[in-house]
């Protein structure tokens, strides 16, 4: 069972990495935020899978902390964008 | 090759990357970023030391762990101060020369504290 969970964790990690590549050729800041959101959720999944697979110390709290703070990057981003009056559709990668 | 050694190599690489960014980055905010990267590499190194010092039924030595927790909090306060300095600096240079771009030379000095 533990090796199955680890393989799953590696697969989710790989999908995170591919999702990050999205930022590389993205033209919009919104895409970057989406990728960050994907990494947030994927990271929580990876953490839970690895914690159960390797039977490390209880990591439910770490996952809770990540879930609680996952949205804040986007909130700060959108708030900052509004503050400067610029739009998220502007090129992120000039 | 065990995983502690692996993370040790990771910390070495990150310290190098952070230092490189600190030297070559033109924008002060990027230097703050690089400074944080460098710091996290050093913290990771402490983590490897802690992991190797696992004993007495603990997964890792608690003393380096406590040092790293303190370090992360202090690094945040330094980052907040540095960001405030950079924002103030650009605000002042904008006031002084509203038409021209912010002065890069003046900006480069206040990047990190």
């Amino acid at each position: 069972m533990s090796s199955f969970l680890l393989v799953s964790a590696v697969l989710v990690l790989a999908s995170i990495a591919i999702g990050l590549v999205r930022i590389l050729y993205s033209r919009q800041a919104a895409d970057c935020m989406m990728a960050a959101q994907l990494v947030g959720t994927g990271g929580i999944a990876v953490l839970l899978l690895v914690a159960v697979a390797t039977e490390t110390a209880p990591t439910g709290d770490v996952a809770l902390m990540l879930a609680l703070l996952a949205a804040f990057a986007s909130v700060a981003f959108v708030g900052g964008m509004r503050g400067t009056g610029s739009k998220a559709t502007e090129g992120a990668d000039k | 090759m065990n995983s502690a050694t692996l993370f040790g190599f990771c910390s070495a690489a990150i310290v190098g990357l952070g230092l490189f960014g600190l030297i070559v980055s033109p924008h002060p905010l990027r230097r703050i970023l690089a400074f944080n990267l460098l710091g996290s590499g050093v913290f990771l190194f402490f983590g490897v030391v802690a992991r190797r010092g696992a004993a007495a039924g603990l997964g890792a030595d608690p003393v380096p762990q406590a040092l790293v927790i303190t370090g992360i909090v202090v690094a945040f306060s330094a980052t907040a101060l540095a960001v405030a300095l950079v924002l103030r600096l650009f605000a002042l240079t904008d006031e002084a020369a509203p038409t021209s771009e912010a002065d890069p030379k003046a900006g480069a000095e206040g990047g990190h504290s």
């Binding site: 069972m1 199955f4 969970l5 799953s8 935020m33 989406m34 609680l68 | -």
Partner: protein, 91 residues
């Protein structure tokens, strides 16, 4: 019974991983922001939900299971908010 639980975990976690990969593929391949958001929410909500569901038998106690479920509920909430924020910022 234990064999049945194992099968359940394998099924749920595999389905969750498939949703994560599908969501990523959507994020990379879909043409505009709303469709990409659509793909992202599938990975977020269903993918993590299935992984959490599959891991529930291994949490060792009610408190651990409760924590795991609240992780998922929190992600649902913040995911919904974030997609709204991004969609409105783009519009």
């Amino acid at each position: 019974m234990s064999g049945l639980l194992h099968a359940f975990t394998i099924l749920a976690v595999s389905a969750g991983v498939v949703f994560f990969i599908a969501g990523t593929v959507g994020l990379v391949r879909f043409p505009d922001v709303p469709t990409r958001l659509h793909a992202l929410t599938k990975a977020d909500n269903v993918g993590l939900g299935l992984v959490v569901l599959g891991l529930l038998p291994y949490t060792g106690g009610l408190l651990g299971a409760l924590k795991l479920v609240s992780v998922w509920l929190l992600t649902l909430l913040s995911g919904a908010i974030v997609t709204q924020l991004i969609a409105r910022a783009v519009r």
